[in-house]
Amino acid sequence: MPDPSLRSQVEDFLYQDAALLDEWRLDDWLALFTADCSYVVPTTDLPEGDPTRHAVFIDDNYERLVGRVTRLKSRHAHREYPYSRTRRLVANVRITRESPEEVDVQASFVIYRVRSGDMAPYVGHYELTLARSEGGFKFRKRRAVLDMETLQEHGAVSIIL
């Protein structure tokens, strides 16, 4: 039987993650990742997409994630300059595996992106592996799987999911 407080600890961590991204505090957000992390977003037509075999939207390791954050902080990341407004709702959090080192988590998300007269929601779920670290967690694996059939309203995945 898992520690009953574990889920609320994980939820607190995910709420912190959502707040940092919604507030565009990207350097603080980057500190939530381990050095051996991965951040993957499969294409909408292949939710099971595996970056080693398939084309995906995003397949970042730590180095590439730093590159993504550096870009988003630039005035020349035109799709996100000025920044869009985002609002992230994270729910249905489930612990699917637990060990002394790691916790696997599934959660649903809706992320609204508002900019230039449009509002488009990214709907999907997270498949996460959290590394237990001093005083909390860090993302080791962050996979954001979208439910939309295409990026019909979005044009791009220009924000972090």
Binding site: A55, R68, T70, R71, A77, T150, H154, G155, V157
Partner: protein, 442 residues
Amino acid sequence: MDVHNIVMDDPERGIFRVHRSALTSDEVFELEQRRIFDHSWLYFAHESELRNPGDYRRRTIAGRPMFIVRGKDGEVRAFLNTCTHRGALVCRHDEGTAESFQCFYHGWTFNNRGELAGLPGSDAYAEAFDRRELGLKPVPRLESYRGMYFVSMDPGIPDLVTYLGGLRHYIDLTMDSAEALGGWEVVAGTAKFTIKANWKLIVENSLDAYHLPTVHQTYVDYMDTRLEAVGASRMQMQSRLSGQSNGVSYPRGHGGFLHFAPGRTIANLSPLWSESAQTEVTRIREELIQRYGVERGSEMADRSRHLLIFPNLLFQDSHTGFRFRQIWPVSPSELRVEQYDLVPRDEQPELRSYRLEWSRAFLGPGGLATPDDVEALESCQKGYGARELEWNDLSRGMHRQPLASDEVQIRGFWRQWHYLLGGRPAGSEAGDRPPAPVPVHA
């Protein structure tokens, strides 16, 4: 604006302009559907998606629901995806393998050659009811070139080889380059995204090397950071787009730009790759030169090709991988993109992962570059709301042998577009000459 005057083409003065109603008007949009999309060869699928009998792909082509399938007899056919009885879609998945397609409405069943094989209660029909007449309706024309299947709604359109014309030189370079690696195959995972802009803006954008250093500065910065981390020199986008580059324009609106690019998995080294990857790329390059000669082999290996197969297929073979990017008009101010990456079937796994990494890094909707193109195109479309400013300018490089960062390839597209819409016959300019000799990098 009268469609005859919608393009201002004055090679003598070196001025080329397009009236912005070409990008905003409902009337022009309707004309394009009838005169361009109903009378062109339109890409449908790649042979690697249809390897075995029964393999099919369902796609919407020029607004029509269609599917393409390899029959039990081995032949590939393209059908309108609508039951000959009352109209429901008979193929209801985007891809798969099937011996037959049963309409779920009344149960009419078509085999994978399109014949009406069975229907419930066939005794209810008179003698004149001939099921041989009620097979699925084939798309009027279907032809393939180098593994690419195209369809046309125009039964009288010239054959595909004639249609592609001189552009085949570049298509062949890319297709030949992977022959020794098992040929190209489409990799699963399609980027499908919509942009709130006229479809011709992304055609222009995909043929436009002029915007690369400005719109994509963050990408260049990222590349420079990665290159400097391994002690290599910076990317030098500007010089890359001038010295060994050029734009080309062919009859029927095809064209593109070509430039020297390091870091092509076929087959040009990148300092970002491991030693074993460098060894493999060197081997591939040597093999190409042995097989095809120095001139052709090194052109395959060293130069990136960003091509348009008129009207709506971008054929991009660059350091960011090889892909087909197909553009569909949705409305005067909305377009849809379907983007398919291709990989050499027997590519070494390490090189495959580099190829996919750089494809995503740049040209996907989650990459470091494409989102900014989306922003630029939507920004242009919004700008056209200021109707008092009527013309876009595309005169760049009209007075010289065009560089990749000039606009000859974009003018070639517009001239054919204008011709098909009923404007003046496609003109020519100094730039429509054969490309400059290919530099050889030993």
